[in-house]
Symmetry: C2
Subunit: 406 residues, 2 copies
């Protein structure tokens, strides 16, 4: 009798993955950082120091800091978020999580029932969109312009929903270095959002995961900081500012939210060593490290844009990013980016097709997101050139390459 | 207008937690280790070495090892599980997780739909029982004796279920250093379990989280190793053998299982630094470290048992543990251990009431679980003495204390 364990699996599972084969040479996918920008020596030094000094706390779940996570790292965040983000909080408002993805899961579990409606920027983080859908809730996309969420469109949608007796639970927004558009929402619009949230009684879920990476290292204060009645739930991460393989993110919220999340965060706490290590590293080096990092990122961004200008000319449209690691590119209607994604992958170039990064997947069919943080400048140029060649062979455009006809 | 965010929470949430106030002096709860048994110097040294040598991999999600986790740690486990547990596997059969609690969540998500039936040892890990219930599945307790699951009772229950057309998805078992009973299931019974699993077509979920901590550092081979057709899914952890605040556990299973779990393990990977660190530490020091640790644990276990004999005499019943960190104690029927738990907590003594560690909570009303790994021998003696005093004041027994009438 041959036994197939698959016959006993639960219902509704998606396709199994293929074995991991490593990343390709021209890697523009996801949110990877570059090897050169990992502060290895300082991280190694911090790790040795904190384990020597505080390693005995590892004997306890919560390493003597309780279920909210390392108290030194929370204290660093209290001070950092005050200075850089304008937030007045205490360590009891912070919950350290296993990456900001766990923060998303926890907040969704706190707020969403199946069939709930959620407002979300029409182009947004794919993992946020898929999580909402996986719960059985309904994400509704709001139009974006160069300053983030279009207020008029938001109100129109809210009125339409209200007419149908639908009241969204929350609005998910990445106001500072939006993913994928890399815009920054000005303060006035943030205040307006809060007003609307009051009027229509929804929660604002502010994701600030990329917010440290503004070119000028300045930014409007967080929406969280502008709210007087705890209507905002906030999350952040060290994945983009230090390293993605460090799985440390955080939720900032009122104690009502934190205490309720802790009642179901039954994972025995998030990893202690990474939290301890970050507490030491950040207290000593964070500002300086991020300052250097964004210089390199902007320079790579410029390389990418120059390469696109040379290889694609006017057929690749984008706004100049205000920070971050992504460029969001719109092509003409005859370039199908799902097809481009497949063809590029065959040539070992990976990118995110726009359809995965929008609420209504059809609206992403001519867009792509490129991450410029990981590849070197040489690889960026090579990759864009090859991408243009693939486009030309499949779709007939772009017809120029570095001002020479193909 | 006063805004209450609670009004927008999802349905079915449990009671929010109280703020963390630190652990009490007489801490017999959970699975804490002792500060003295954390190999701080070697961990600090390993951390510095691996971050210096491999820190650049942190730039990538999966740190160049893919979504299954650090390849060096997986390779260590392949070799360790062969030598110590008798398992013939390769690194593709291992998925590193954020503690074995994530392993439980992932396996449950893989296998269980609401309304499914699960077989489980009648006294078992509280977190496993509550997880099954939270999904809406039904755990059914199987009787235990000094060698683990009672085969006759298992067959009887399976026949009863079959008569009702109910076919359990899996049997969850902790065969080696069972939690809480600390028994070890002999090889013959493991083989018998496999036979029954074949006949009734259920999966065996073998949790070996405490299995490294046998007093003799010998144990029967894993059920996983005895199975010819991938019917067993296995999990383990470093929480008990190194430190609980290190959130590193693992699933071992066929590629059919691993590839399907990876399709929904959407957390960006489990923490890299702890995996890298453990890979280095374990390769160099694991056997020696665990050998020393279990000597200390057995010695503390003996201290606890001596204290119980002196303070409680014959009214505290237990089997001598075969390893691990827990003692499972049965009191006479007039000692209500839920009440004892509350009274003890008021005097800063924490313990696990039996009702949380059994499938049918009433069956635990006269039992407690004490963890002897964390407190010092002095604290163990003091705690047991105070516990006896609390019992005497509330329930009138034990009447003796160190052979002197109270």
């Amino acid at each position: 009798m041959s036994f197939k364990i698959e016959n006993l699996f639960s219902t509704g599972l998606s396709t199994p993955v293929q074995p991991y084969k490593g990343f390709v040479k021209h890697n523009f996918v996801g949110g990877h950082n570059s090897e050169e920008n990992i502060p290895i020596d300082k991280l190694a030094e911090s790790a040795k120091r904190v384990i020597s000094q505080e390693g005995k706390n590892l004997a306890l779940y919560g390493h003597n800091s309780g279920p909210q996570g390392n108290i030194s790292l929370r204290n660093f965040l209290v001070s950092y978020l005050k200075d850089y983000v304008g937030m007045e909080i205490s360590s009891e408002n912070i919950l350290l999580t296993s990456g900001s993805l766990q923060a998303l899961d926890l907040i969704n579990k706190l707020l969403l029932d199946p069939e709930d409606t959620v407002l979300i920027e029409e182009a947004s983080y794919g993992g946020a969109i898929s999580r909402i859908k996986n719960i059985g809730a309904k994400p509704i996309g709001i139009k974006l312009d160069s300053e983030g969420i279009c207020i008029e469109n938001l109100i129109e949608i809210l009125e339409n929903l209200k007419a149908k007796n639908v009241f969204p639970k929350y609005l998910y927004t990445i106001p500072t270095v939006q993913n994928p558009t890399a815009t920054i929402m000005p303060s006035e619009r943030r205040l307006k959002l809060l007003e609307i949230a009051e009027k229509y009684n929804f929660i604002i879920f502010e994701d600030d995961c990329y917010a440290d990476l503004t070119w000028e290292r300045k930014r409007p204060n967080a929406i969280y900081s502008m709210c007087k009645n705890n209507r905002v739930v906030y999350c952040g991460s060290f994945s983009k500012s230090i390293a993605p393989a460090l799985r440390v993110g955080y939720v900032v919220a009122s104690w009502e939210v934190i205490s309720q999340i802790l009642a179901f965060k039954n994972d025995g706490g998030s990893g202690a060593i990474e939290q301890m290590l970050l507490a030491d590293f950040c207290t000593n080096y964070y500002y300086k490290h991020v300052g250097q990092l964004v210089k390199d990122l902007q320079s790579k961004c410029d390389t990418l844009i120059k390469a696109l200008e040379e290889e694609f000319g006017s057929i690749a449209e984008y706004e100049y990013p205000k920070g971050g690691i992504f460029l969001w590119i719109t092509f003409p209607d005859n370039i199908d980016t799902n097809r481009l994604y497949t063809l590029a992958a065959e040539k070992n170039i990976t990118l995110n097709p726009g359809s995965e990064w929008v609420c209504n997947s059809e609206k992403g069919n001519h867009k792509i997101r490129l991450c410029f943080a990981h590849p070197s400048k040489e690889i960026i140029k090579e990759g864009v050139s090859q991408l243009a060649q693939i486009c030309f062979e499949e779709f007939g455009i772009p017809k120029i390459s570095a001002n020479i006809k193909r």
